[in-house]
Amino acid sequence: MRTAYGLIGGDPVEPARLFPLRYPWAYAHVQQAKRNTWFPEEIPLHDDVRDWHERLSDEERQAVEQMLGFFNPMESLVTSNLLMALYPYLTAPEVRLYLARQAWEEANHVMAFETYIKTLPVDRERVFRALEDHPAAAAKADFQRRLADEILHHRPDLNTLEGRGRFLRNLVGFFVVLEGIFFYSGFAFALSFRRRNLLRGLCTLIDWVLKDESLHLSFGLHLILAFLQEHPEVRTPELGATLRAMILEAVALEEAYNRALLPRPLLGLSAEALNRYVRYIADRRLEELGLGPHFHEANPFRWLAAEIDLPEQVNFFEAPNVNYEVGRPRTWG
């Protein structure tokens, strides 16, 4: 019999008793995550190697390196935050199951980006120096780091209102800001290459990462809303204002980052347009948190419908197909 029945507050080392489920949405996310399993080795990269050496401009190569240089350390930071900041507090077993699964996915992303860097090859020193070389990238990383440190270096007491509020800020900062805004901006940037039939392998990798992140975001939002439901006292106007300010700060950081990433427009993509997309997505996140939109921006990237929204039929001989799901029951009759 399960004894602890909240999201938090259980014995952090008590063996998991999964059933009966209290948070079926969490278990549903675990099941879907399993079905989305993929491996970087499945993605052919020979076209990317050719594009990298023969078809990309210097500016485009630098921009891709900078993107990889931000994604890679952030995937690691998310893992640390999941396991070190969140896992000790979130004791509901089905929620923990998902956190563990997500940690694996983040590790898989790190391996995927490593495979990519190694294969092309991209100047790895430059990629790993990205946070030092690009202050705007460093500012985003610092923002995330601060949120992680708020939990890691000053362990909150979740019996207090202050502690719960701080914990919620971390949830929003990682699930909504990093995975739901920063990454989405990066995906749009990367997918713009596919419109010109460049870096197809990278875009396939992004297709898969995007599916994962879409799930993380959806899980995160379920988690945040469930947390607010269990702890309605946290839902104060002050906290709402704090979360709103946090998202607006993140948008400002992302806008500065994109201006540095694209000092001049690359073919088909300008910092100005990308930032309009960031504001459009940020409004969506604000609305999902029940905070109401801020920017009232229209989506400038109608072309993303073809990249993300529409069902995709793949000509098998010509491109990898990311639309299959694995791990179904193997029964007969």
């Binding site: 019999m1 399960r2 029945y5 059933f19 009966p20 489920l21 209290r22 079926p24 949405w25 278990y27 549903a28 996310h29 879907q32 079905r35 749009a188 596919r194 419109r195 039939n197 197809r200 995007l210 599916k211 879409s214 975001l217 959806s218 939002l221 379920h222 809303l225 969506r284 609305e287 999902e288 029940g290 989506n299 990237f301 993303l304 419908a305 073809a306 990249e307 993300i308 929204d309 529409l310 069902p311 995709e312 039929q313 793949v314 000509n315 001989f317 010509e318 491109a319 197909n321 639309n323 299959y324 799901e325 694995v326 791990g327 179904r328 029951p329 193997r330 029964t331 007969w332 009759g333």
Partner: protein
């Protein structure tokens, strides 16, 4: 498949020890295979030469692979060989990559084949019906061109050249079937669609065989003509009876004909230029270039993207767009189409009969696609690329569909496209996951067992 049906054992043999099985099919295969089974069970074959598995267990593994990867293509050796017009000339050991070329191979001969596909949309009269005279002209031109290619081609190996010059096979197929069906106001779910497939493929087959006969009069029959079924005055549809007899079970395929085949039969007996005449290729790329729907394939959805070597392109069902424009609904529903991924079912503004007329590929009953293919295969002497579009939770739900494909006499099935359950968060639509949870989460929760959810101590909020 018989063993799957009977829930029997499936014996797997190392061809090193049972080499002659590779060259057998039908009744001869059955007898020899049974002989090897008995030899194996008597201990007369080395233990490493064979293995016994439950046929359904192996079949289940194949189906699981199909669901998770779209592969493998199931190809049926009995129908491929028994229905081959070159069956006295050689055994068909495998089909080509797209499962439409069915030709014999052996150690001295590697089969190759030139293909062409008629764009049906360019052969319609004002009434939307097939212009059979125009079709006949195109088929004659295509057959002459295909026959020319045999002599002009550069061959990768002497064995390929040899095979091609001796059998002179060509494969004429078609594209634009889905667009035609939609223009006629039909859906592929309608029995009438299979009727249309039957008729149009009969017309192409008739003209193609007639054209090859005419070429034979001009240029001579293919060198091995005398050993072919053609020389006996047989036509591709005659072999349906052979397959039925070999299986000892009725082949559920309509046998109706519209053309005067008896006259052509007499001409065929005098000589035909090409050992093989028809194959329906997938045309996934050339149909895109020609601006119509590929092969006998349905539209994947009414609005979708196709990813090719050259990039990702938006495709749509042009007949639907035209219909909606005529109804004055297009501007009103186009955004909704992105939202529903080209599925009309949830769009209430569109009248029900229109919604029913334009299903996505996943809303077409697989049985309807099999019927269309079986009716076309009646006339086709080689094979047909047939993708299946399946909505499936568990692989064993497909068991009956693939058995049915075999029972209906298909020579092969091609990719299985499986509808993904999860959709990533849309980029261009207004979404609020908090206000409206993603459909797949709700579906996945719904699949949890009641016992997983209900807490016997009543602590669950839902029960309180």
């Amino acid at each position: 498949m018989r063993r799957v049906e009977a829930d029997a054992d499936w014996y797997l043999f190392d061809p090193l020890y049972v080499g002659d099985l590779v060259d057998l099919y039908g009744e001869a295969f059955r007898q020899r295979y049974q002989g090897y089974i008995e030899a194996a069970e008597r201990g007369e074959l080395p233990r490493r030469a064979w293995r016994k598995v439950q046929a359904r267990a192996l079949y289940a593994k194949i189906l699981a692979a199909l669901v998770e990867t779209g592969h493998p293509w199931l190809t049926f050796k009995d129908s491929s060989n028994i229905r081959s017009m070159l069956r006295e000339i050689g055994v068909i050991h495998s089909l080509n990559l797209c499962t439409e070329v069915a030709l014999p191979t052996n150690v001295d001969e590697i089969a190759v084949c030139n293909l062409a596909s008629v764009n049906l949309i360019r052969h319609l009269g004002r009434d939307g019906e097939l212009d059979e005279a125009a079709l006949a002209r195109t088929v004659r031109t295509a057959m002459r061109a295909l026959d020319n290619v045999i002599d002009l081609n550069l061959y990768p190996s002497e064995r390929a050249r040899r095979s091609n010059l001796l059998n002179r096979p060509v494969g004429l197929g078609l594209m634009g079937f889905a667009e035609w069906i939609a223009r006629l106001g039909l859906s592929m779910n309608d029995p009438e669609a299979a009727e249309r497939a039957d008729r149009v493929v009969e017309a192409i087959a008739y003209e193609a065989i007639a054209a090859s006969v005419a070429l034979a009069r001009e240029r001579g029959p293919f060198p091995r003509f005398d050993r072919s079924e053609w020389a006996k005055g047989r036509l591709p549809f005659d072999t349906l009876e052979d397959l039925e007899r070999a299986r000892g079970a009725p082949l559920p395929v309509d046998r109706g004909r519209r053309r005067d085949w008896e006259e052509l039969r007499a001409a065929v007996r005098q000589g035909i230029r090409n050992g093989a005449v028809m194959a329906i290729a997938p045309t996934a790329t050339i149909a895109l270039i020609a601006g119509t729907s590929p092969s006998l394939e349905p539209y994947y959805s009414n609005l979708f993207t196709r990813t090719t070597l050259s990039g990702r392109f938006i495709e749509f069902n042009p007949v639907l767009v035209k219909t909606l424009k005529e109804m004055g609904l297009w501007e009103q529903v186009r955004e909704r189409l992105v939202e529903t991924q080209g599925d009309l079912a949830p769009i209430a503004e569109i009248p029900e009969p229109v919604r029913r007329r334009f299903p996505t590929a996943f809303q077409i009953r697989p049985e309807a696609l099999l019927e269309i293919t079986a009716r076309a295969q009646k006339w086709v002497d080689m094979g047909i690329s047939r993708n299946l579009y399946l909505v499936v939770e568990r692989p064993d739900e497909l068991a009956e569909i693939y058995l049915q494909a075999w029972r209906m006499g298909l020579k092969a099935t091609y990719y299985a496209y499986i509808a993904p359950r999860m959709r990533p968060e849309p980029a261009t639509l207004r979404v609020n996951k908090a206000a409206q949870r993603p459909g797949w989460v709700v579906a996945a929760e719904g699949q949890l067992q009641a016992g997983d959810l209900c807490s016997p101590d009543g602590l669950c909020e839902a029960c309180q």
